[in-house]
């Protein structure tokens, strides 16, 4: 895990890493990958991947309209809103 990989991964994750912390972060992530590298030693043959412990199909519920939180309630948690909309920074390319 080199510093350029850390920068690339951070950008994919929309995280900003400080220049002076990159080396430390790279070392920490490398230590975690060291633990995780045991995976390579496991004989997996044709074992199918397991994504969830849930067995069988997940049931569907009727596609019915139900009362939910109101727009007003939902916008109360928004950092910035105006006239019933979420406000984001102006983007001009």
């Amino acid at each position: 895990m080199d510093t350029s990989t850390v920068k690339k991964v951070a950008s994919l994750a929309r995280l900003r890493v400080k220049e002076e912390e990159i080396t430390t972060i790279a070392q920490e992530l490398q230590a975690i990958l060291g633990l995780v590298d045991q995976l390579a030693k496991v004989k997996i043959d044709n074992t199918a991947p397991m994504t969830t412990p849930s067995a069988g199909k997940t049931p569907l519920r009727p596609d019915a309209i139900e009362a939910n939180a109101s727009r007003v309630q939902i916008l109360e948690n928004a950092p910035q809103s105006e006239e019933g909309f979420f406000v984001v920074p102006k983007v001009v390319e």
Binding site: R14, I25, A40, P49, N77, V88, P89, V91
Partner: protein, 497 residues
Amino acid sequence: MHSDLSSFSATAGLQELRNGSFTPSEWLESFVARIEACGELNLYISDTTETARESATQALSRYQDKTARPLEGLPIAIKDIFCTKAIRTTAGSKFLSNFVPPYESTVTARLQEAGAIVLGKTNLDEFAMGSSTEHSAFGATHNPWSHPDKPLVPGGSSGGSAAAVAARAAPVALGTDTGGSVRQPASFCGVMGFKPTYGRLSRHGVIAYASSLDQPGIFARSLADVELLYRTAAGHDPLDSTSAVCSVDAASSPLPNLSGVKIGVPREYHTKDLDGEIESVWQQGAETLRQLGAEVEEISLPHTEAALAAYYVIAPAEASSNLARYDGVRYGLRAEGDHKSLDAMYEASRSLGFGKEVQRRILIGTYVLSAGYYDAYYNRARRVRALVAQDFAKAFERVDYVLAPATPSAAFPLGAEATADPTWMYQQDIFTVPVSLAGLPALSLPAQLNKAGLPLGLQLIAPAFGERELFAAAALFNEALDFKAVPPGLVASGANR
């Protein structure tokens, strides 16, 4: 008027409410007083005393007009990761420090519909990522078993809930367990911690960490309390697509002894890091089960070490995906300033709002899911997960339950982790993570105190959906373990009072 109502278990206290020995308000005030007395432990992020007092008054009227519900007037503590309508829910994160959910989680809704009263929202590692409750934007929680000059961690991530139940600052509490976040703090705090089968308790309204592993769990000081809360909260929920479609178990029926019951002791759990005192408590636990009539035999769970590696790929991968929603647009924190682009605003807000451990796990998760690494890490981890589940399935062809330590050590000092390699804390999860990957139910029971006077716990692990039988067997085991110790400064009054 009793002097120490805070030491009543949920079941015993509810019986006294029905008998009219004391009122819901009197019971509630005993916990309000304990929460205040335990202020330095930093158990709760938010308390809800005012609304709890109103609810307690209403509960009394229900007892008087004979319309009391099964949990009427029972105070409960809730890990601050369950969304509670109109009550701030932070997940221990600066990002959500002002978030007030417009809806209620299914589990907390069901308990309150049965009459439970919310005491407050307990502290946790940010977004449930951690094993010490030090990774909280609201400060660390201290273990009630520590001496004031040498604070210990309560475990994590549900450390506030575990410590609150141990300190009599709540009779029972809700937590969540992704890789051991209920069982490990229960063990560190000398209380019971139960993680049901994946799918038993709804995840609706539980702030997501790793969705294929997250499962609500219960802390209590009596097994009857664990079962009471579990049975009240369980049952299919159409709002959680992974909620199991099956009816709630009938109450467990007492067993005369454990004759005919087979217990497996996994060979691979004798790890090099296992503390000698825990090894001996484990052996004594096996002997206790033998004396109760069970047959104890060695079993093999060959993918135990690999399970830890698989967990630390799968959990961060799911976390990186789940936590992508925190963008500073719809709720939560937005960094101040003149952002040049939407991406710049996302980056600034996420870097400001997330703590170090959360950012570390998002980075690892993003890395293992990124092009070129997906097969070597994420896909391989999912295959190893299948092997871990197969290990248990094979074991359960031979035995009914697995007996294991809950943790490789007793509670560690506050700050110990900061000086260690980040993987040191991950290694603490070796006995809890395999169960989570396989989605099995497991109960951590306090077993003994070590020489330093700290509690040590043992886990009974059952096959999927085997809760009812597990409770019956655990009742006998728990009675034989006879753990009655209480944290320093509290007066022992019998575990099942």
